[in-house]
Symmetry: C2
Subunit: 229 residues, 2 copies
């Protein structure tokens, strides 16, 4: 199960948010005192769609998936360490519009929402960075909805592989760290179709696949598939 603890020193924490020091030291201490650190193991749920947010979630270590639940799940994005998992629930409607689960062992700092909001109100520079972050994450979803609604299977799977390459692993070679089902949920398609298209990509030597180890052999073709849709 998830392990709970308290932070020692946020100011000198190596995992702190890069804009944390826009706050005064006193304010950082307030955050530290209100903060609870929770360690999650792979697969554990960090927050649940439909419930109300009482804390802001900062991802200090690990990677999580943010997904919308239903008959079939849709993974909207992966979030890497160093970012707030969810900010629009802090400033907008309080109920989570999605669930979040750990993709590997993660460390999450939970900060009381009311406290963080009032700190933000008094520290416009900090708030400004939070707002930039929400804006860019919003832009990402706009792109996602457009891709999903317009592209078909091949284009969508190419999108996902390029996303892993460019945004998550920053490399042409990586262990996807997820099942085929999750890869499909990230591409909004059935698992069988994801597997089938992966086989095609392999046969066409666009990709080399060894279980969960992917190596992109022809990124330009993937890009073209993504562009064509």
């Amino acid at each position: 199960m998830s392990k709970i603890s308290k932070p020692n020193n946020c100011i000198s924490c190596p995992y702190k948010w890069k804009y944390l020091n826009l706050l005064k030291d006193d304010d950082i201490i307030s955050i530290q005192n209100s903060c609870t650190i929770i360690n999650f193991k792979k697969g554990e749920t960090i927050c649940k769609q439909g419930t109300d947010a009482t804390h802001a979630l900062y991802l200090a270590k690990g990677t999580v998936k943010l997904y919308i639940e239903g008959k079939k799940n849709l993974i909207l994005k992966l979030i890497k360490a160093g970012e707030y998992i969810d900010l629009q629930t802090l400033f907008g409607d309080k109920s989570y519009k999605y669930s979040v689960a750990a993709m590997d062992d993660t460390m999450v700092c939970m900060i009381n929402s009311d406290m963080l909001r009032s700190l933000a109100k008094e520290n416009p520079k900090y708030l400004f960075e939070l707002t930039k972050s929400i804006s860019n994450s919003s832009n990402y979803v706009y792109k996602k909805v457009s891709d999903i609604s317009r592209k078909q299977l091949r284009g969508r799977l190419a999108d996902t592989i390029l996303y892993l390459k460019n945004e998550i692993f920053n490399s042409d070679e990586f262990d996807i760290g997820m099942t085929r089902k999750e890869l499909a949920e990230l591409s909004s398609m059935s698992m069988e179709n994801a597997v089938r298209i992966l086989s095609e990509f392999k046969k066409d030597e666009i990709l080399s696949i060894e279980g969960k180890k992917f190596k992109i052999l022809q990124p330009s073709i993937l890009q073209k598939l993504s562009d064509i849709g």
Copy 2:
């Protein structure tokens, strides 16, 4: 063509944003001096996907559609008077991720981005409201992407009709003010299928349709269709 003018008095303007007065009068005057008012006619483009934003766009009068262009367009939402059309481009990446066009005769206030950003930085209460607005509009898109990826034709069209009822016209009876093609683009489907399903709804007496005049006869069935997906 679009008609350009300057504002007389933002402070007493009946169309002003409801949180404008969180700014000091001096700041409002700064906005007023930098502001250009543009009147658009139905169909005219207000901003174009791919270009860089130099101004924040406030919709004082009229209704606009925000849509992503491609081989087929996807209308993400309609925006009514009294809201900023676009805020994430003010705080996030500067390039428009979508186009915006007038659905009827509209009045748009264009405010220099740099100026508004620096005002926001010095007026946390104002910035806070902008952030709330971005957050909620982001939440809307999360719902949209989930609906589009999961529901099928009937569910999606029911969504759209309920959206018009609840969010746009606040009535069971309204003139949709758009073509069947736009209705389809708002529901992410082909125009023919939108028409076909409308005919079904009419036959099943869920809806009464007279050209562009819709009357919802059985909202509960629409809701059920939306829920089933």
